[in-house]
Symmetry: D2
Subunit: 284 residues, 4 copies
Amino acid sequence: YGKNTIKFLRLHKEGKKHFVKEVEVCAHLRLTSPQEYLEGNNSLVIPTDTIKNIVLVLAKKNGIPSLEQFAIDICNHFMTTFCQVAYVKTYVQEVPWQRLHEDGVPHIHSFICVPDGIRFCEAEQCRNGPLIVFAGIKDLKLMKTTQSGFEGFYKNEHTTLPERHDRILCGELFCKWSYGECKDFDFDCIWKKIRECILEAFAGPPDCGEYSPSYQKTVNCIQMLVLSRVSQVQVIEVVLNNTFYNVVDMKNLGLTNDKEVLVPVEAPYGSCACTLGRKKFFEA
Amino acid sequence: YGKNTIKFLRLHKEGKKHFVKEVEVCAHLRLTSPQEYLEGNNSLVIPTDTIKNIVLVLAKKNGIPSLEQFAIDICNHFMTTFCQVAYVKTYVQEVPWQRLHEDGVPHIHSFICVPDGIRFCEAEQCRNGPLIVFAGIKDLKLMKTTQSGFEGFYKNEHTTLPERHDRILCGELFCKWSYGECKDFDFDCIWKKIRECILEAFAGPPDCGEYSPSYQKTVNCIQMLVLSRVSQVQVIEVVLNNTFYNVVDMKNLGLTNDKEVLVPVEAPYGSCACTLGRKKFFEA
Amino acid sequence: YGKNTIKFLRLHKEGKKHFVKEVEVCAHLRLTSPQEYLEGNNSLVIPTDTIKNIVLVLAKKNGIPSLEQFAIDICNHFMTTFCQVAYVKTYVQEVPWQRLHEDGVPHIHSFICVPDGIRFCEAEQCRNGPLIVFAGIKDLKLMKTTQSGFEGFYKNEHTTLPERHDRILCGELFCKWSYGECKDFDFDCIWKKIRECILEAFAGPPDCGEYSPSYQKTVNCIQMLVLSRVSQVQVIEVVLNNTFYNVVDMKNLGLTNDKEVLVPVEAPYGSCACTLGRKKFFEA
Amino acid sequence: YGKNTIKFLRLHKEGKKHFVKEVEVCAHLRLTSPQEYLEGNNSLVIPTDTIKNIVLVLAKKNGIPSLEQFAIDICNHFMTTFCQVAYVKTYVQEVPWQRLHEDGVPHIHSFICVPDGIRFCEAEQCRNGPLIVFAGIKDLKLMKTTQSGFEGFYKNEHTTLPERHDRILCGELFCKWSYGECKDFDFDCIWKKIRECILEAFAGPPDCGEYSPSYQKTVNCIQMLVLSRVSQVQVIEVVLNNTFYNVVDMKNLGLTNDKEVLVPVEAPYGSCACTLGRKKFFEA
């Protein structure tokens, strides 16, 4: 197969107001015959340069109504135009430009980059198969400074970790979900709703939070809340890359450190992940 | 000289509400004698490990009232404690944790990382010299989709750039300023005010913007606005790392692209910088 | 599942001569029950900290005879020690320290880091399943300045790429292969032999090279040569991330540029990949 | 001022043998008047695009006989062509392509990237001032597994570091030197000689090494050896970014770890630097 990455900006205006989407598109094709690998016969190969042109032309003609719709458009174009394509996958990721505001007034053409979780989506299709759409968020960094512990774990002669009932829970979250049959979904609205679910499940109620007995359970809470609130989601995968913080031992410096000063522990660096579907549970 | 980097988290509570600062501190010492370099005599050397302990102990004892005050505290500690220190510089940078909100309600202990411009400061002092404090913002990415051009530049036989009166202005901004005599400044408040000035000078009025004839002039506008609005700033340096976007030529694809689809040009990558003071102008 | 990364250094001496291996180990476990996700019951969970201790203890006791043997040792330990482990995968990657030489004389304890292709391996096992070992090389950057072209590809209205019979072929190579039944393989020796095959197939004979009609065909040549020369390899995957170079058009600068000055094209960035086995061909 | 970065490849042939240099050039100009900043008057501004064209044209016409000569050529061009240029600095850095060898036979057109220390240089000139040339090496990672300690350092109540007489010395080296009057220097030959001096001073004799009482003393040894062996070097700056390794305490795991298993300590991360000239010593 071949794949390639294209970065570009799509502008449009409504009256004097400007709208901008900057995206990175990665298209991934598999052909029906591997003859270019085996025989050096290039006659079916669609060059990277042509793929780039197609993506840019589609952006020019259709705009980017939503990341998901744009990914669907690209898949459809390749499947209907090239009979030598057996499989196509399109990944679209957004640069998080947000409109600037001055004293609450939105600016008509100025933007600031606010990377507090990057939105992406995928569309994939095999010839004669259904078109499947995924969406997700990545690089979302969250922290809870209390209401987190880790106790009652398995112990043997290699265990040195003490039990803790009041630690920091901090990590970088990756979340990806699949939609079922994509009718006329409002992808932007659903995405925002899911982002809110993630934050709510991570943090708990604003006045007291909710105790997390492990990173794993927090991952599961996020999945359960999304599945219960957002009916369009079929399967949801969450990966939480943990950053651990150790309370600095200041006894030999003559001080008592009551969880006031902590240092990040860079190794070992842990991660936990789980994929949860509607009826069937699978953990991978 | 020697320097080193220490990352840590400082937590404190007011009632049930948690506050968090995660910082990266870089301390830079020069000793009165270079004997450890020339003779391998370590008797005056303050080990990295000791410097780390001092920074952590100061954070524990004083907290981090503001980045600037913490940097000042560290400088003062080294100057008053170690007579072999000839010069000390402290750099403090913040991880941009922001309190989470649920339906507008602030969460008592949950935070999200929002890196839309990183705050930093520096304090430096030579023995018997004044303590000088700098503050700044970096990694602030901004874009204007119109009201920017570049015309009337110098031309010769190596010129191929066309004049443009409606291009994209996009870049990553670095801004650093020095304070004069630091009395009881409200460093947090001043920093926020300067950030607003930068955004305002970059973008212009929200309903129409302001035409920028060059990256250089935009840099100057930012400096002038900060100096006029914030009396505590003595000297201000601005560096703007430009990202250029080219309108894709779609003629050979049979289309007219009216500044709708643009691609970033990764090389050459340009940058312009200027340092501006209150009375005296110096360009470096 | 959970995974985590551990970095460490393993030293040993033979007489006065020092040997060093610095590795990054990533262990990946799946338990027989997902109860920690669903119920917050941690009683079967093996903490990251324990996994780190086990890896370090195994390194201390057994050393790192080869990356592959070390990965096998870790898998075996988890499978035989913890009956709650359903699946284990271990990834081991090496920091490429090489012994320093002075005028051809090897130094007994000094090393230089030479990252011209990073060696890694993987071992994985399901409970009651076979132990499977993979090895590979990554971040290997290669260039041919001639004997490469791309012609006869599929064309339609979106094609703008000209045919070329003398271009630069440049890319970053990733290669991973699986071993069959691992008897007493000399993993170090086999790895070096495969690296030589890759370089030979990429470059062709030293006096004239060999024409490459596409990145895809070069990928296939590498696979075929490895499979024909190294009988222990069962399946081999190659990914080539291409860097394209364009000859700079200097006509409007009054010069003819005969493939003397070229600039890298950063987007679109292409990649081609293929997996080839002994009897069966599968392209993914 | 303005600066920008240009990446390109320069090929040339001698008979059938190909030679390649891939470089990154950064040119930095300051004009005699800041009118483009203050008044938005662009009439003296040399666009980034023009600078790129000039660099590429010079590479096409003169080739890149050595990095230093190419940097000198660029400076000369700007000073003699543009009377509005008050100052020019050119930085040139090389991508470390090395010719491939098969069984000791050099390949005529195939190369491998071997980043074991990156070569760079700088040339700078003020109008009516001398042309000054610097050269250097960066990203050179070195390790000594013994013959290094750190003892007799300053101690007070914040000291927790134990004295050590057999630690690992590991770091990333940056080294930059200036040449005096640049006559017809063989820059390639001098650079190789200095690289050898660095390695020799770092490692000591191959059969026994040489004891290092501190990172600082090792920095000084490197400087002294270069100054004594290479008469063309006027001033030499060395920065050593240290990576510390801690022997893992395995007592609570029932094992004695005799400096066999060590983990890198990522924070605090230290660095020491020194600049040494021929007659005058200055430490900064």
